[in-house]
């Protein structure tokens, strides 16, 4: 048994009456009152998520950019300071160790945010790959709390949070996938316009010691704008509607980026990077697609995708009744012959065959 972990906001979640669930060894709030209400609040107003379980690494040194070009699938050296980029940490065999967001804070100073459940694997891979580079990769997860404020009202709410000062770029001028510096009660706070919901929003990386005060300040500022605390259940349905992959479902050591529709993340013409020689999927490898169905009965992770004769075409990796769209949606890996948009397939829902259609991702796109 590994030790059960809690974020610095545990007491706040308990006071709000949250139900908890295990996620990658962490006890996290799965919902506070209603996961549907939390989902809709994020689409229509705003939600605040404690995502302090996620891992953070600093990458610093004269070779930091060159190191990241080697260690990760993308060309991070091409990012300008203040930008953020989605990337992948690949194994030598081209499988995915984790998906991450990289923030360039200065020429020789980067921050990587990775999934909680992959923290050890990411730390080990980052350390192994430093050989020959003037760089230090350090796990700074325990020092930090990460709070996501997501939804159309997020920017307005954050401008009203008491205690956030010294914002380096005005909120309204912060671009999607960028970061800015600020302070909360005098302690450094990183503002990142990123998220995992398909809505506009920010992720606030601050000191663990200030987490409760920041959480309280966000809730206080958000109350009149319809902000609610939201749990992992809503986060999962939000990211699924937005077509965003979840490690352990759409991504794994056995999946290569192009299979998951992430070929664009890999800059294959880089001279060298870990996984380069094996990054191309085998011919005929299954690919990730979106599926939509009618009715209210959802396909779930692990259910088969079949043809009219019952022959297996693939397997669902995530599925739910979409709260926003009102019909079932799923992501699945299917044989390439069945991956074309509009292909009619069936979901094997515990013995009942439900008609479904291959659909372009994402299922939901916010209005700009």
């Amino acid at each position: 048994m590994t030790e059960t972990r809690y974020t610095p906001l545990r007491a706040r979640h308990e006071a709000l009456g949250a139900s908890f669930t295990d996620f990658g060894g962490w006890q996290m709030p799965v919902r506070y009152t209603s996961d549907l209400a939390e989902h809709h609040a994020v689409r229509q107003a705003a939600g605040v998520f404690d995502i302090s379980h996620m891992a953070e690494f600093t990458v610093r040194g004269a070779d930091a950019a060159a190191y990241l070009d080697f260690a990760l699938a993308g060309r991070l050296s091409a990012m300008s300071v203040g930008k953020a980029k989605y990337s992948l940490l690949l194994a030598e065999d081209g499988g995915i160790i984790d998906d991450v967001i990289v923030y360039r804070l200065a020429d020789d100073d980067f921050l990587i945010i990775s999934n909680a459940g992959n923290r050890d694997a990411v730390r080990d891979a980052l350390a192994d790959r430093t050989v020959g580079f003037a760089v230090a990769a350090e796990d700074v997860s325990d020092e930090h709390a990460l709070i996501a404020v997501q939804g159309p009202a997020a920017e307005r709410i954050l401008t009203e949070v008491r205690g956030i000062t010294d914002v380096s770029v005005p909120w309204s001028e912060q671009k999607y996938y960028s970061s800015a510096q600020a302070a909360f009660q005098g302690v450094p706070l990183l503002l990142a316009r990123t998220g995992y919901t398909g809505e506009d929003g920010f992720e606030l990386l601050g000191a663990a010691a200030e987490a409760e005060a920041l959480w309280d300040a966000v809730l206080a500022a958000g109350e009149s704008h319809g902000l609610v605390p939201a749990g992992l259940a809503a986060r999962d349905t939000l990211r699924l509607e937005a077509g965003m992959p979840l490690y352990g479902h759409e991504l794994s050591r056995d999946i290569k980026p192009a299979q998951a529709g992430l070929g664009r993340v890999v800059v294959a013409d880089k001279e060298r990077f870990v996984g380069k020689d094996a990054v191309t999927p085998a011919p005929g490898a299954r690919v990730l697609v979106g599926l939509t169905a009618e009715g209210r009965r959802a396909g779930r992770a692990g259910y088969a995708v079949v043809d009219e004769d019952g022959s297996v075409l693939g397997e669902i990796t995530s599925g739910a009744l979409s709260p926003t769209l009102g019909h079932p949606i799923a992501m699945a890996f299917v044989d390439p012959a069945s991956a074309e948009e509009g292909t009619a397939v069936f979901l094997d829902v515990r013995g009942t065959r439900i008609p479904a259609t291959v659909t372009a991702l994402p299922f939901y796109r916010r209005k700009k």
Partner: protein, 125 residues
Amino acid sequence: MTDLTSLKYSEEHEWVAADGGTATIGITDYAADALGDIVFVELPAVGTELSRGDVFGEAESTKSVSELYSPVAGTVTEVNQAVVDDPALLNASPFEDAWLIKVSIADGALDGLLDRDGYTAITEG
């Protein structure tokens, strides 16, 4: 409000209210809360014969699926279409509006089920 001490319970979190030869069956608030927001309910046809422990339907939330196990043996005489049409009733009113099925039962059908204290001992254990 239903007097929860007047009900019988199964370890699978169904409740039973017996009235003569008819048992009304639902799921407990504990089960509904554990599932989260329930978005789909499937119930059997009237006339279905159930043995104790048979799966008589299922409830799906956004996050998970739960099978519904009959706590008694008998024949389904009535099905609550209101819950099928609005599964959120299960979260809002699990002991009243969101009863699931009525079953005609024989004498002794409730033997071995838990009383309120026995059931709360499980959920609070």
